[in-house]
């Protein structure tokens, strides 16, 4: 499982550039699903046919990153970035482009709060020409991926957010056999750009129930690492459907899955968006506790992930 996680994390897929990561996931799950396809904006949709309720389970497969915006005369690269990019945490990091060009992210002047306007990527080019041979405007960069074991069950690295969600869905897809419910698993695009990948998938599938699987930031709620899968009660914009909360709780108890509740008081966007698409749907969410989200030192507990996988499995 950790090997697969590493493979997912080391495949770059900035928002709008999810082609490679989508292929890795597709290869992994296609023997286990009835049908699988990419929709118009790149969401990877896997269907495990059943005759019961139509449930859509989604997680995002993209990550935060930079795009090359301009190359200066001296060969330094100016960037812009997806939402959610934490410049304070990224400054002075190693970065790598989608084509494998290595560089470092440095500030223009010392002491200023870093934003996209005052940082550069230095790839060691001596001139604009030399830089242009290796990168083009529009190319994506991310901080270099890493994964380290931290103690007995914790892991640290990036981008755990949200390849860990992808891992959970993949493992659940592999484990589910003879499902009664009609299950659609969606690996969404564009989550770091207002999260609208999920919206188009919901529109075309029109599910009865939508379940989001994503990391829960420890700083936004009382959720704790190692205390089990999170069942979301609400986020800042949406209160989850009480029927879904109750369904997840009773499934967890029946199957002896360790769980905790999560009420996000600070963040949250896509649940409120997807619930009112077209004819509407009930919503709920399963969370994976995570610390230091959107940095190069994101931390998760693999035991929580195992509980999340089990909880997805029993949705069958």
């Amino acid at each position: 499982m950790i090997n697969l996680l590493k493979r997912l994390m080391y495949t770059q897929g900035v928002s709008g550039r999810e082609g490679d990561i989508s292929k890795v996931i597709e290869k992994e799950i296609s023997p286990f699903v009835s049908e699988i396809w990419n929709d118009k904006i790149g969401n990877l949709i896997a269907h495990k046919k059943g005759n019961g309720k139509r449930i859509l389970i989604y997680t995002n497969m993209d990550e935060c990153g930079f795009f090359v915006n301009h190359i200066d005369e001296n060969g330094l690269i100016r960037v812009c970035s997806t939402r959610g990019l934490n410049y304070d945490a990224a400054i002075y990091s190693d970065v790598v482009s989608e084509n494998g060009v290595c560089g470092i992210l440095i500030p223009e002047t010392l002491g200023e709060k870093p934003t996209y306007e005052n940082v550069f990527i230095d790839i060691g080019a001596k001139s604009k020409k030399e830089a242009q041979r290796r990168v083009s405007v529009m190319d994506s960069f991310t901080c270099v991926p890493r994964l380290k074991k931290l103690g007995a069950t914790k892991y640290s690295g990036r981008p755990l957010n949200n390849r860990i969600g992808c891992l959970a869905l993949i493992e659940a897809i592999k484990a589910i056999k003879d499902n009664e419910n009609d299950l659609y698993f969606v690996f969404t695009t564009h989550a770091q750009a207002e999260n609208y990948g999920s919206k188009t998938a919901v529109y075309s599938i029109a599910p009865d129930i939508i379940i989001s699987v994503s990391i829960a930031k420890r700083e936004c709620s009382d959720i704790k690492l190692g205390m089990g899968a999170g069942i979301k009660i609400k986020d800042i914009r949406a209160a989850c459907s009480l029927s879904v909360i109750e369904m997840l709780r009773s499934l967890a108890e029946e199957n002896k899955i360790k769980y905790q509740y999560e009420a996000d008081e600070i963040s949250g966007y896509d649940l409120s968006l997807v619930r009112s698409v077209a004819h509407g749907a009930e919503i709920g969410a399963i969370s994976i506790p995570c610390e230091n989200s959107h940095t190069t030192a994101e931390v998760i507990d693999i035991d929580d992930v195992k509980n999340v996988i089990k909880l997805i499995e029993v949705l069958k």
Binding site: D208, D222, I233, K234, R237, A238, A239, C240, S241, L242, I245, E246, Y261, A263, E265, S272, R275, S276, A278, H279, G280, A281, E282
Partner: protein
């Protein structure tokens, strides 16, 4: 006026915090006995009540008022019988210490928000605005007893029964937006099928206060020819700018906005003035801050107008509204529904 007051009393007695509207639908329907031809609750918790015109294939007029009220949900059950809650909707935390709540668990129980007595607070908490995370709901039960009644996620509502003040003003909780729900039900109950130019779709919608505005889903299903969204708006009070507010006792307002349909807005104003009914205007330049912005964007588009009732002390449990304004809104909407649909 007495009939409206009784209906409003019935409606404000109902607890319907965002996300838990479905439970309230039975109580609402009991108040609307015999008024509608058909009612249903959709997937996301909107209550749709239909009264048809006796004309065949009449155009569809959707009248929307959100049913939900601001409130809280339980996030933790603590030792000593206290609850931690999280806000659903824009809660003014200043008014919470020592206010009363109803907790909708397996049964309804009462509670009080904690407060710090002045002897202890002196010198601290100078900002004067308590944060919800520092407040507890005190129920008096033990933790073990509470766990049998209350589950995580259960809704908590402020308590504030309706009372009549002088000059037809009433004070209550959740007048935002039961005032408009009351006008819509009253209007539908008086509407005569033979005179109706439209099939009426009264939608008491869900999740407005949390900003999810699920009325969009109802509009997607109904595909109305016209939708009129009714909600409350700030009444003119001390300290509020005149251009952002409307006046009590001058009837409802039509909200003029770049997001609403100008012809329908104008038509409502014309009809009101023709029938000598009080109606005012307020400008909400680009957004009205109501369900309108979601309904207008639903499906292939919906032509909308927004009407508001002036309300004082919004988002408190002592909101104040004048019954006459509710009655006038009901009258104007009825006149609109009787008037033939122009080519708009």
């Amino acid at each position: 006026m007495k009939k409206i007051k009784e209906l409003l009393k019935g409606l404000t007695d109902i607890v319907a915090v965002s996300g838990k509207e479905k439970d309230a639908h039975t109580e609402v329907l009991a108040l609307c006995e015999g008024v509608f031809d058909e009612t249903y609750t959709d997937k996301v918790g909107n209550l749709v009540m239909i009264k048809r015109s006796s004309k065949k294939n009449a155009p569809r007029l959707m009248l929307d008022a959100h049913l939900d009220e601001i409130g809280f949900c339980v996030t933790k059950i603590l030792d000593g019988g206290f609850l931690k809650v999280s806000a659903l909707g824009g809660i003014n935390t200043r008014i919470l210490p020592s206010s009363e709540v109803v907790i909708c668990g397996k049964e309804k129980i009462r509670g009080v928000f904690s407060s710090v007595p002045p002897h202890l607070s002196r010198g601290k908490n100078e900002k004067g605005t308590p944060e919800l995370k520092d407040l507890l709901v005190d129920t008096g039960y033990t933790k073990q007893e509470l766990e049998k009644i209350v589950s995580i996620g259960d809704r908590v509502a402020c308590r504030g029964e309706l009372y009549e003040l002088s000059n037809s003003y009433v004070v209550s909780k959740s007048l935002d937006n039961r005032s408009c729900a009351c006008a819509l039900i009253d209007m539908a109950s008086r509407a005569e099928r033979d005179k109706l130019e439209y099939d009426l779709y009264v939608v008491l919608s869900a999740h407005e206060e949390t900003g999810n505005m699920l009325a969009r889903v109802a509009a997607y299903d109904i595909k109305p020819d016209i939708a009129i969204i009714t909600d409350v708006n700030f009444a003119r009070e001390h300290g509020l700018k005149s251009k952002e507010t409307i006046e009590c006792e001058k009837g409802p307002s039509v909200d003029i906005s770049s997001s609403t349909d100008r012809d329908i807005s104008r038509r409502i104003l014309e009809i009101a003035s023709l029938c000598k009914l009080d109606c005012q205007t307020v400008v909400e330049v680009s957004s009205t801050g109501t369900n309108n912005e979601r309904i207008m964007l639903s499906g292939e588009g919906v032509k909308t107008a927004v009407m508001s009732i002036p309300l004082k002390f919004m988002h408190s449990y002592s909101e104040i509204v004048n019954l006459k304004d509710i009655a006038t809104l009901s009258d104007i909407l009825l006149a609109f529904a009787y008037a033939p649909k122009e080519e708009l």
